[in-house]
Structures are given as C-alpha cells and as structure tokens.
Symmetry: C2
Subunit: 481 residues, 2 copies
C-alpha cells in the first residue's frame, strides 16, 4: 500500500475541505447516513455474521450510527460549534491602538481512525470518530478492524460513494486493511494530525507512545477500557436488593459483557453481603453464555478468569465449569474491601461478563475505595437522597475518577446527545478533556486560529461582521447571535 500517496491525497483534500461550508459538510454526512440506511438489508446480516452479535442488536446499532451522523450534520449545519469570537479594534486606545482579532476553530488536518471490534458500526468505519472528524473538516484515513473486514469495506464504500455523489474531493476518506504494523505506519506518517482509537489499554497506550515519539507529536484520543464501578449504599440497596441485583446482572451480561461501560466492579455494604450475593447468584445462574466477537476475545476472557482463579482472596459466586471456545459464560467473584485495596489486578478490566463484588464495612472503607479507584469512563452510585447527602465527600472523590457519574440505572447504554461525556481520567482514556460520544466529540479534531486585522472580504463566513451564518458568537465579550 502506498501510504505516501494516500496521505498526500488526503492533505490535498483537506486544504479544500477545511474551507467548505457547514451546509456542504452536513449534506455529505446526511448522504453517508442515507447510504447506510439504504444498504441496511445487506449490512445487518453481514455485520451480525462477522461479529456474532444478534441481528436485533446490530439493527439497534445501525439506528444509533445513523442517529449520530445526523447529530453531527445538524451541528455543523447550525455552525455555533466553531466557537467564533470577535474582539473589535479600537484605533483610539492608548498607549497603542487595539487591533481587530477574530478567532474560531479550524480543522486539524488528516487524521487516523481505528475501528473497534465491539461496535462494527457505531464505533467503526462510519462511527463516531470518523464522523466527528469529517464534521470538523478532517479527512479520515481509516484502519478497519480485522474482526469485521467485509462490513468495514462495505461501509467504507458507502462513505466514498457519498463523497463522489456530492462532488467532494478524493481522499476525504480512505479505507485501509491491515494489522498492528499497518496502524503504526499510519500513526507515524508526518501528515497525520491526530489519532482516534477504541480498544484495549495495551493497544491505546502503544499508539499514544508512538504518537508522542514522532518528530511532531500529535494528540491521541484512545478510549482504552474501564471497569465502571457501581457503588451501592445501605438503605437504597436494602430496600431493592432483588431489583438492583437483576439490573446489575442484566447490565453485566448484556452483549456478552462486551461494552466499554460494562460494570466489572460492584461495592456492597457488609450488612447486605449475603442477601445481595444470593440475589446475584439467582439472577446469573440462568444466563446462557452468548458468543463473543471472535475466538481470540473468548480466549482472552477465560485466560483472565484463570489468572484470577489463582487469587485466594477471591471467593467465586458463579463460574461455569468449563471454558468455552467462543461463548462468554458469565462469572462473578467476591472479595473483602480490605483485600481488594491491596491488589491492582482486581481493578483491571476483564473484557466480558465478569465482575467482582467488593464487600465494604463502613463509610471509611468506601472512602478508601474511592481514593484507590483508577480512572473510569463511568461510576454509578445507588443511594437514597439522605445517604447521598452523607456521602458528599465520597462522591467528591468519585467525581475525580470518572467522566460520567450515574445516580440511577446502569452504565451500559451510552446516550448520544449534547451532554454526553464518554471519556474519563487515565487509564480509561488517554485524554480526559475529550469525549468520543456526543456532540463535543467534534472538538477533538479542531484547533483555534486567530485572524488579526484581516480584511473583511477575506474573513471566513463565521467571522464576518454581518454574521451571515447566524451563529452564536462572543463579540467583545458578549455572547450573541
């Protein structure tokens, strides 16, 4: 593969595309969404067969994929995401006249996006990373995930077709197949200006290191894994043990546990240890193992369990008698908080439907847990209002450890909207200042540029005096349209 050619074509496309209107970008995104919907009948069975995910789940994921494309189309057509700011000149100012300065966000340049195996549509070829990068004005060099090659190529062709249909330049999107070495070559290319990745800590960390060792380091947005702890407080849990155990097990085993927000840790007060353990056992025992994405992932799941089985501190609440070549039989172990606190291994993500139930004695121990937790995408806390009030200090610590904190429900099921934050402190992501889901994901692919005393006729529309785009802007410090 001639990467030089691919990147040069992308750079060429970039210089044209960065100045394209929000309307043209929105039409392009809408066309991608249309092409995906039109190909639904082929795409759903194909993605299902390549991922082992049931067609119902893929149908939902396709809807989500189309929905998030439309969200970005809406965002760029409206245009206020550009953060336009105008400080007018003051020629009379002393001791020196004040210049006219106008600032907005401009696209970074061609970016490299990696597909994820667990969402063959929503976090893959036309997933949130690709689409938010295109929306920002960045051409995408996309490395397809080898677990779903046909789905990836098919969706890639739908993006290319959309670009052609809309008369946009070649090189806005390039689909590349290959392994780890190919991904590394892409990240190292001098024209690449950012990287987006969803996957394992090991994979994300290695790309992060590679990107920082370049002559010109570039940002890496890696979403790397999280155990998404659920903290239960005494009264709330006590009055709902069975319902909460059911909700928890359902979230744990959804999609064979292959979600980045899968809850792999649950903290339970000692007083409810037996009742909650029993309720969980009752819920989990009838769950039939579901096929995982591929055999390699199933193998890794059982290897992680085998490693944990050698740890004497763990008491196993549920585990299938035999390992499976493809299915993830759910598993759960229990541990005293005092032992959990001593061993980092118990915080490592096991990709699949496995969780550790941590029994804590009192609020002091729970505070120690909160302080010890690694960075997470999400943390959930189930408590009565009065308990939450008493736990203010603990909650304050938990906030430091996550990107999203939930007070009801379960962490799986990530809303695509304006307020979503899907990105937490390290090591859950490489950059807690960013989100890979929701409207703000577009900001990852832009940087500010200021124009000083630029003649009005050369200014981008977003910064022209008359505000032809009708967007929200900060003018001399005031927010206005």
């Amino acid at each position: 593969m001639n990467y030089e050619n691919i990147f040069n074509t992308a750079q060429h496309a970039f210089l044209q595309f960065k100045k394209t209107s929000g309307k043209i970008k929105a039409d392009f995104l809408e066309k991608i969404a249309y092409n995906i919907e039109a190909e639904k009948a082929n795409l759903i069975p194909l993605a299902s067969s390549e991922s082992n995910l049931p067609e119902g789940r893929i149908t939902g994921e396709l809807g989500r994929t189309v929905g998030q494309i439309k969200l970005f189309a809406q965002l760029v057509e409206e245009g206020s995401w550009l953060e336009a700011v105008i400080d007018h000149a003051d020629p009379e100012r002393t001791p020196a006249p004040k210049p006219d300065i106008r600032r907005f966000l401009t696209a970074l340049g061609p970016v490299v996006v990696f597909g994820a195996s667990n969402f063959p549509l929503a976090f893959s070829t036309a997933g949130g990373d690709t689409v938010s990068a295109l929306a920002a004005g960045c051409p995408v060099i996309y490395k397809g995930h080898p677990a779903h090659p046909k789905t990836s190529k098919l969706v890639g062709s739908l993006i290319t077709k959309a670009a052609q249909e809309n008369g946009l330049p070649l090189g806005l999107f390039t689909h590349i197949e290959g392994g780890i070495d190919v991904g590394q070559e892409l990240v190292k290319h001098p024209i690449a200006k950012a990287v987006a990745f969803t996957g394992s800590f090991k994979g994300g960390k290695s790309l992060f290191d590679l990107a920082n060792q370049r002559k010109e380091p570039i940002p890496v947005y890696a979403e790397m894994g999280s155990v998404n702890p659920i903290i239960t407080l005494e009264n709330k849990l006590g009055s709902n043990i069975e319902a909460l155990a059911k909700a928890f097990v359902s979230s744990l085993t959804l999609g064979a546990g292959q979600f980045c927000t899968n809850p792999g840790l649950i903290m339970v007060p000692q007083v409810h240890e037996d009742a909650f353990s029993d309720a969980v056992k009752k819920e989990i025992q009838d769950i039939v193992g579901a096929p995982m994405l591929h055999e390699g992932i199933a193998k890794a799941y059982y290897e992680s369990l085998d490693k944990l089985k050698r740890k004497e501190e763990l008491e196993w609440l549920h585990v299938s008698s035999t390992n499976d070549i493809i299915k993830a039989h759910p598993a759960m172990a229990k541990i005293k908080a005092n032992d959990w606190l001593k061993e980092e291994l118990f915080q490592e993500e096991v990709f699949g439907s496995f969780a550790i139930l941590v029994i804590y004695e009192n609020a002091e121990e729970l505070l120690s847990i909160a302080q010890k937790l690694h960075g997470q995408l999400t943390i959930t806390i189930w408590g009565e209002d009065s308990e939450l009030e008493q736990s203010a200090d603990i909650i304050s610590h938990l906030e430091e450890k996550c990107g999203r904190i939930l007070f009801k429900g379960v962490p799986t099921g990530v809303e695509v909207g304006f307020a979503m934050q899907h990105g937490g402190p390290y090591p859950s992501t490489s950059d807690s200042r960013s989100t890979s889901v929701g409207a703000y994901a577009i900001k990852r692919f832009a940087r500010p540029i200021a124009f000083q005393d630029m003649p009005e006729k050369f200014l981008p529309d977003a910064l022209k005096e008359s505000n032809p785009l009708g967007i929200w802007r900060t003018v001399d410090g005031e927010f206005k349209k």
Copy 2:
C-alpha cells in the same frame, strides 16, 4: 523540600476549591490583583533590577498582569465558560427511557506552572498560566524562574496573602525555588494533573516527554518558541518600503528581541531586495544594543550568531563587531529562498534581536516557503487586497502553520482578550489546541464531567434546572440563558 506534603496539601485544597463559587474565585483573583497593585512601588524596581528590563516596560507589564487577572475574575464570576449542557430526560421514549444528563467543566486538579524569564510578571508567578489555572479551580505548584528570584517570591507572597485574606485553604498556591531537577520532580509527582511552561524548545520538550512517560501521562502546555515570519508581497512592500522596514526593525529590536513573538524571519520579493535591505540597514545601524535578561541569555545569543556566521549562504546585512557580555546588539543576515529552503537551521529561533531576510523570486517559491515553514505562534502577511486575493493558496498553507495570522502591524504586542490565540502548531507549542494568553487559556485546566440522573438538590449550581447563576447553557440542543 517535602514535595509529598506540598502536593497533599494542594490536593486537599483542590477538593474544597473545585466546588467554590465563581464569585469566591473572582474575589480571590481580584484580591491578588489588588495586592500586586498595592506593592507596585517595590515590585517595579525589583523586577527591573532582576531582569535588566527598563522600569517603563515593567510598569506596562504590571498593568498587563493586573489586566489579565481581572479578565479571568470577570470570566469566572460570569460563569458561562463552564460550558454547561443539559439534556432532559424523556421517560416515555421507546425502546428505552431517556435519562437526564448534565455536563460541565470541572477543574483538573493541582497543576505545576513554570515561570518564564522574559516576563517576570505577566508570564511568571501571578502570570497568565497561574491565574487561568486558579480561575479554573486548580491549585498551583509554582516553580519560580531563577532569573528573578526575589520578584518571584514577593509576588508569590502576595498570592498567599490574598488566599489568607479571603479565607481560602492553604495549599492553593505554593512557591518553589530550584533548578531543572526540582522542576522534573514536580512534573513527576502523581498528584500533578497538568503542566504549563513558557521557555525554550529544549526545556518544553523535555517536560513534555517526562509528563508522557509518567504512569499517568498528563497534559503539558508548553509554549516553546517561534520565529514569527513576516511575508511581504510586492506591491504593498514597494509602496511602503521605508515605513515597513522601520516597523519591522522596531518589532525585531523591542525589548532586546526577547519576545516569543519576535519576528526572526522576513520574506521579501527579489524586486525589492536592494531597497528593503538598504532601508533595514539604515534603521538598524543606530539601534543601541540593550541589556538582555541575564548573561547566560546573551551568551546563547552570540553563540547562535557565531554558529550562523559559519554558514556561507548567509550574507550579513548588519552585525556588531564584537560580542557583548550582556547587551544584545541587533543583527541581520540575508539569504536566497532557494538556500533557505535547504537548511532547517535557518528556521531555528535565535532568542534576541536577530532576523533572517529571505529573498524569494516568485509566488511559486513563496508557496514552497509556506509549505516548508515549521509551526509558529504567528505569521504576518503584508499585502494589498488584490495581492492577498491572488495569494489565497499561500495563505491557506500559512494558516496551517500558525495560531495567529496578522494582516497589519507586527507580531509583538499580544492582546489579552477573548479572541486571542497564543499557541500554534508544533514546535511553537506542544498543544496547538490551547492558548496561553486570553480568556480561552482557562480551558486548559478543566475537563468535562457528566451527571446522569443526579437528584436536583445535589447538582452544581451551573446545572440546576432554574439556572441560578444565569449563565449561557445548551439545553436540549439550544443555547439559552
């Protein structure tokens, strides 16, 4: 020095300070500004004697320092910088009810700030980095610059005094003295959550690498140097040769050339080579060398010139006969674009009043220059409107190489306002997505956090339904107050 104790105290202060109201933060900042102004009579001669900068310059810098503190006070008191976003619940939504999600920016945690030698006030102890971090809610562990130790300590005491006077926690600000090893220890401490630095490429890059090698990598905002090219186009230059030569030389030699936006490169069309060279020579010959910040900086300046003097491609337009122990005698050399394009050394910053005049033959050569330029804080282009129109392609490339592009005036003199972008593509800064001057500097020290289904009474004021702060928020996708 017991760093453990310092960081623990800062972390303790952080957990309290992050929830402090914008009003309390603003009062604290205003008190710092007040204390600095009240100490003016001591501070100005002290900073002047330690930096060799004239009292007039220090007086201006003090005004700027106070002005930027007040800008951040205004920003946090108003509160819209928090980027509050609310997506309301929809319990009726199918197939699953929609949760209530609210997002805003929260402070990163304790941060390490390094002082700069060339701005003993505005980029030092109570400079833009410290003040924007405090405004965001981050305690600051500040490493004073050894070039102005007494100024640094005095300003540090004024910040501490402001915290005490306003009843704020110990540990919000700590002043530390020491060399490179001390700075490295601070950056490596696990409690540190970000680093801000202004100085040399070598210094910034080493902190960037160190921060990325931590178990938990943290963002480094390093402003590292730039040659701030000025591009002149034929007609504009031809009709103003003497005035533009004067403006250029004045910017080049201002403050002994010790500004990060000092213009170290100027591109001139061949047709004006002789006239512009003559005009520059005439302007520069009478400029008396001014004392640099310290002898080490003067030594480095002359060493850089000696290195360049060995380059045969350079023709020297002006150079003092002898090197000086402390004063920066201005110097200028001339080169053909064709030779300039071949050698990276000619793009390296020489800290002081030295510039290279690059003679280009035609638009094609100018385009090659634009493509070859390293990342810059600023690029200035002087052209008639009709010339700018013809140079659209060149300007498009120049935009990719800088954080601020000027169409009038000179790059020195950085406005502190809402629209300022002082941060450009690598290697001018380590993070082109950030600015170290102006209102947006505060965003460097915050990250988003989302609250899902949090009971109203526990929500931060910025996210409460009734909008008690009266700030601009995105509610269900619409901007409103």
